[in-house]
């Protein structure tokens, strides 16, 4: 196993570290799923992972390709219907952390996964919101995992699919929401957290080897940096090994018919 790690590995590992053993986590597919299961296999063995397919407290051995692979149901404490999942569990206020990804994000961590261009005549039609609009407001807090890039970190979203801190950062409070919204945005180069006052997502930690210049060059708005930006601790051998073997098991499982 290589002792160096890729930016994507660092992103997943940094995201995993944000989770706590006592969290009840609503898991999106893809990068969030890898991060959540890495947390479960390292420092948070008792974390409760919930997928929108209805599987509660699932402990997959390989990463699911979809949010409803059989592996999720087979290893769950129980599986409920999808209406129940959205009514009793998500809207019920029982989820401490919702984990989201997206196609585009703005400085207040609003997300777009609907369209690029005009809604009626889209340039690119993206998959749509799925669970995200209600995950964003009904979970205690939101972690977002997305690789930096000029096309994905944009000054202005063409469409708000799920609300972060709102178009001006002041909307959540104005609407009387009690959930905290996006508290962490984990990228392949750095970690953002919302400014306590303005709610603008602010770089608080740079991954080993990443520079401010790289972050600026890959962000569609001029990103703010916290007064004390720290260095993200490098992956431990255990983290890297656990992540890679999880991906290896997954690849082998998905290749078979």
């Amino acid at each position: 196993m290589s002792s160096t790690h890729t930016p994507t590995e660092m992103m997943t590992i940094a995201a995993a570290r944000a989770l706590r053993n006592e969290d009840i986590c609503f898991v999106g597919i893809g990068a969030p799923s890898a991060a959540c299961n890495l947390a479960r296999l390292t420092h948070a063995p008792d974390i409760t992972l919930i997928y929108e397919s209805g599987t509660i407290a699932t402990k997959p051995n390989v990463l699911p390709l979809s949010i409803g692979d059989g592996e999720l149901c087979d290893t769950a404490l129980c599986t409920v219907s999808v209406p129940e999942m959205f009514r009793y569990w998500l809207q019920g206020g029982r989820i401490t952390v919702g984990f989201l990804g997206g196609a585009q994000i703005d400085r207040f961590a609003n997300l777009n996964t609907t369209v690029v261009g005009d809604y009626a005549k889209p340039k690119v039609r993206l998959p749509g919101g799925g669970g995200a609009p209600e995950i964003a407001t009904n979970c205690g807090e939101i972690f977002i995992i997305m690789a930096l890039g000029q096309r994905s970190f944009v000054e202005k979203l063409p469409f708000i699919t799920s609300m972060g801190h709102g178009p001006t950062g002041r909307e959540r409070r104005a609407m009387g929401l009690t959930s905290r919204g996006p508290t962490k945005l984990i990228t392949d180069l750095c970690v953002f957290e919302p400014d306590a006052e303005t709610k603008e997502m602010t770089v608080v930690s740079l991954h080993t080897g990443a520079t401010r210049e790289q972050v600026v060059a890959n962000c569609g708005w001029a990103p703010r940096f916290a007064v004390d930006v720290v260095e993200t601790p490098a992956p431990t051998a255990l983290e890297l090994e656990t992540l890679r073997s999880m991906h290896a098991r997954t690849k082998a499982a998905h290749a078979g018919a």
Binding site: L65, G68, C73, R87, T114, P127, G129, P133, T137
Partner: protein
């Protein structure tokens, strides 16, 4: 009372041109065989409804069966785009496709309201987002006790709902197990229903008195199609064919490869072709 028919008869009876049709199954138990038969029978002008219009509607929309799609997430799960749906939306190929777009919470609540025979569903959603701007069916009510404004959507009441299930008994009672999704609600909300099953058994063998069972008198037609959910899976029977989903990305990216695949694997095939996937796992 459910009637046990061939898939061809069942689709003919259940789905009519111009119908609103929900084919449900949340990753699990997706009624692919019934969708293929619907394509073969040339149904058109359908208003398709499905929370996650993945490969099953990519195929139907790419073959021109639909004029409208009501949905909340349209893609190839874990792989990428639903290319045929995108081509319909972005380029009107093979015909224009009207969209009615919702969130998962809205769709799940709308099916639930349909099953409960209510005209609308209430939930705490669509807060601070743009979808209500482009979808006039998203409205609101005010709580008569707290004054809170809550989102509403109209109940879903499909003309026809199609699902796949592990098994039915000879009286036509249907068992659903595993990831049960919105299938029970989608069936109870519909005017006509078709359930394809892996097998018909003497005893339903429901593992618990609280198992998800659709009594015979809530079901219209039942057709036995072993393997009928492939490439999705049937809990206790066969696994999800993840490699198929990955391969679909390449098949569906271009119109020509898509049409060639559909001819070979759908138009020139019969429901029995699914049987090769229908391995029964040991209980």
């Amino acid at each position: 009372m459910a009637r046990i028919l061939t898939l061809s008869e069942a689709v003919e009876e259940t789905i009519r041109d111009g119908d609103s049709v929900a084919m449900e199954g949340f990753t699990h138990l997706i009624p692919f065989a019934a969708a293929h038969e619907t394509i073969r029978q040339g149904r058109k002008d359908l208003s398709l409804i499905r929370m996650t219009p993945d490969l099953i509607y990519d195929q139907m929309i790419g073959m021109g069966c639909a004029r409208k799609l009501t949905f909340s997430w349209g893609g190839n799960p874990g792989v990428g785009s639903a290319h045929r749906i995108r081509d319909a939306v972005e380029n009107a190929w093979p015909r224009p496709l009207e969209l009615e777009e919702h969130s998962h919470a809205a769709m799940a609540n709308a099916y639930e309201a349909g099953a409960a025979n209510l005209p609308f569903a209430v939930f705490r959603g669509y807060i601070g987002v743009d979808l209500p701007r482009v979808n006039p069916s998203i409205r609101s009510v005010v709580c008569p006790y707290t004054g809170e404004k809550l989102a509403t959507v109209p109940a879903l009441r499909p003309d026809a709902t199609v699902i796949h299930a592990p098994r039915a008994d000879r009286a036509g009672n249907v068992l659903i197990e595993g990831i049960v999704g919105v299938q029970k609600e989608a069936v109870l909300a519909a005017r006509r229903t078709l359930v394809t099953v892996e097998e018909i058994v003497d005893d339903l063998g429901a593992p618990s008195v609280n198992s998800v069972v659709l009594p015979s008198w809530t079901v219209g037609a039942i057709a036995v199609v072993p393997g009928g959910a492939h490439p999705a899976y049937a809990h206790g029977y066969y696994k999800r064919d993840n490699s198929f989903y990955i391969a679909w990305d390449k098949v569906s990216r271009e119109r020509e490869t898509f049409l060639a695949w559909m001819k070979e694997n759908v138009l020139d095939k019969r429901p029995e072709a699914f049987a090769v996937h229908g391995r029964r796992a040991s209980r």
